[in-house]
């Protein structure tokens, strides 16, 4: 007998496998983009090619939304929705695995953009970073990247659920997705901000996390601590769980295939 965890893992693996080709194509385009920019160094104004190497990172936020819609859309397009919705799994499992896949795919693209672009945009930060010493900067960057990554993953997960809610609401209402989906996403985002704001006040007692940034004190570079409250992220996560319940209910009880 298969456990719930095994079933969730199977759903997640299938989601990732279905997007693999597209992700590899985008990663390849990022490499080509950076190679192209590398040939422009010295020909273009200072730092233009270096700063353009960071552009692919802007795909990160929209990708979580695109991947979430694409996942459901693909199910309907290839007809596999007939099997997916016939599985005896709870609706939250379907929605949560699609959101998790969207976060993983976004992380993959974000890391790819960061790694392949580093030889170029890294030239802009080599000076200050080198002044701090390799071990200090690596440690600080690692810790900060981990904390920021966890917080960003939570936000992307919630974003994915809101987008899925928009898509499934249009499907359930049997009305044009172009009208219902944006309205639902806007309304859900507004409610997230309002409810999150209220929760945020109640959760103000939660501790802050410290990010490290390279700053200047006079002429010398140094690592500076920048505290940030985790209450907004926790509030978003709590509201996101509510949206997960609603989206799961739609997926399980209100869709017609």
């Amino acid at each position: 007998m298969k456990t719930t965890v095994q079933r969730l893992w199977t759903l997640l693996r299938r989601e990732l496998a279905a997007s693999r080709s597209l992700l590899l194509i985008i990663a390849g385009l990022m490499v080509i983009w950076n190679l192209l920019l590398a040939t422009r160094i010295g020909m273009w104004p200072t730092y233009l090619a270096e700063s353009m190497a960071m552009w692919p990172m802007f795909i990160v936020l929209p990708w979580a939304a695109i991947a979430s819609v694409q996942s459901w859309h693909r199910e309907w397009g290839q007809g596999s929705i007939h099997y997916t919705l016939a599985f005896p799994v709870p609706g939250w499992a379907l929605v949560a695995t699609k959101a998790t896949a969207a976060v993983i795919e976004t992380a993959f693209l974000g890391l790819t953009a960061a790694i392949v672009g580093w030889p170029l945009y890294g030239r802009m930060v080599h000076g200050p970073a080198d002044a701090l010493g390799q071990s200090v900067q690596l440690r600080a960057m690692g810790i900060t990247a981990f904390k920021a990554g966890v917080m960003l993953a939570v936000v992307l997960f919630v974003l994915s659920i809101i987008v899925q809610l928009g898509y499934l609401a249009a499907r359930a209402a049997r009305l044009p997705a172009g009208l219902i989906s944006p309205l639902t996403v806007v309304a859900a985002s507004w409610a997230l901000i309002r409810c999150g704001g209220l929760l945020n006040k109640g959760l103000a007692w939660l501790p802050s996390v410290t990010f490290w940034a390279v700053g200047r004190a006079g002429k010398a570079y140094q690592l500076q601590a920048r505290p940030a409250g985790i209450a907004p992220v926790v509030s978003a996560a709590i509201v996101g769980l509510g949206y997960l319940a609603v989206t799961a209910w739609l997926a399980e009880r209100h869709l017609d295939v």
């Binding site: 279905a18 007809g79 599985f87 005896p88 049997r174 869709l255 295939v257």
Partner: protein, 232 residues
């Protein structure tokens, strides 16, 4: 034995069209039922409601004594009419994937069915012909020890020469002992030997129903001829 599928005054509306319009039906165990009717008669909608894929607009429906939902999905096997396989997978991966979700999956039966349908496990689904994909869908539905098996146009896409062989196999080797098998089709001529019971649907209602043998005797004709007469 109680009804495995029962519908009372079942209705389903799409826009301003009623796909099911007060349908009454009862399916008991150990039987193979033919669900016959022209396009738009409500066959697929009824099977989708039983599989938990479509929500009824009115009336009552019970699968294994419960409203269709997560619990009934564990015991209902469904073959969709549409082409719905995972194109990025191989046949083996498709079987492994689906088997994860069902405790009643029978691996031995799946292997036997693959052999019978002449499907090679390592073949990619994307490279299968329409007929082979139809056979694979049959494997996926019949490889389970489900209490209720719903086959929506299972012969569609399969070449006429193989249809009778497949129907005979379904009747002979994969006949449910306690469960029921519902086959929706308009390929009556090839499938009629399989049916114990027959229900003719028309515009979302039962037009004629009964034991297949009795209907043949009463009307003095085959089900195929009766189909032509009913929908003339």
């Amino acid at each position: 034995m109680g009804a495995l599928l029962s519908a009372k005054g079942l209705r389903k509306r799409y826009g301003n069209k009623w796909a099911l319009d007060g349908l009454d039906l009862e399916v008991t165990g150990g039987r193979i039922m033919g669900l016959l009717g022209p396009n738009g008669s409500g066959k697929s909608t009824l099977l989708k409601i039983a599989a938990g894929l479509v929500q009824p607009s009115g009336g009552k429906v019970a699968v294994l004594g419960r409203a269709p939902g997560r619990d009934t999905k564990k015991r209902v096997a469904y073959l969709p009419e549409v082409d719905c396989l995972y194109r990025e997978m191989t046949i083996r991966q498709t079987l492994t994937y689906l088997s994860t979700f069902y405790d009643d999956w029978d691996q031995t039966k799946a292997r036997e069915l693959l052999e019978f349908m002449e499907l090679a496990p390592e073949t990619r689904v994307a490279s299968l012909s329409r007929g082979m994909r139809a056979r694979l869908k049959l494997v996926l539905a019949l490889a389970r020890q489900a209490s209720l098996v719903l086959l929506d146009e299972p012969l569609s896409g399969i070449d006429p020469r193989s249809r009778s062989r497949i129907v005979q196999a379904v009747v002979g080797r994969y006949r449910p002992e306690e469960g029921a098998l519902i086959i929706s089709t308009h390929e009556v001529i090839q499938a009629e030997s399989a049916f114990d019971d027959v229900v003719f649907l028309d515009r979302g209602r039962v037009r004629l129903a009964g034991v297949a043998e009795d209907l043949r005797a009463q009307h003095g004709m085959s089900l195929e001829a009766l189909f032509e007469e009913v929908y003339a």
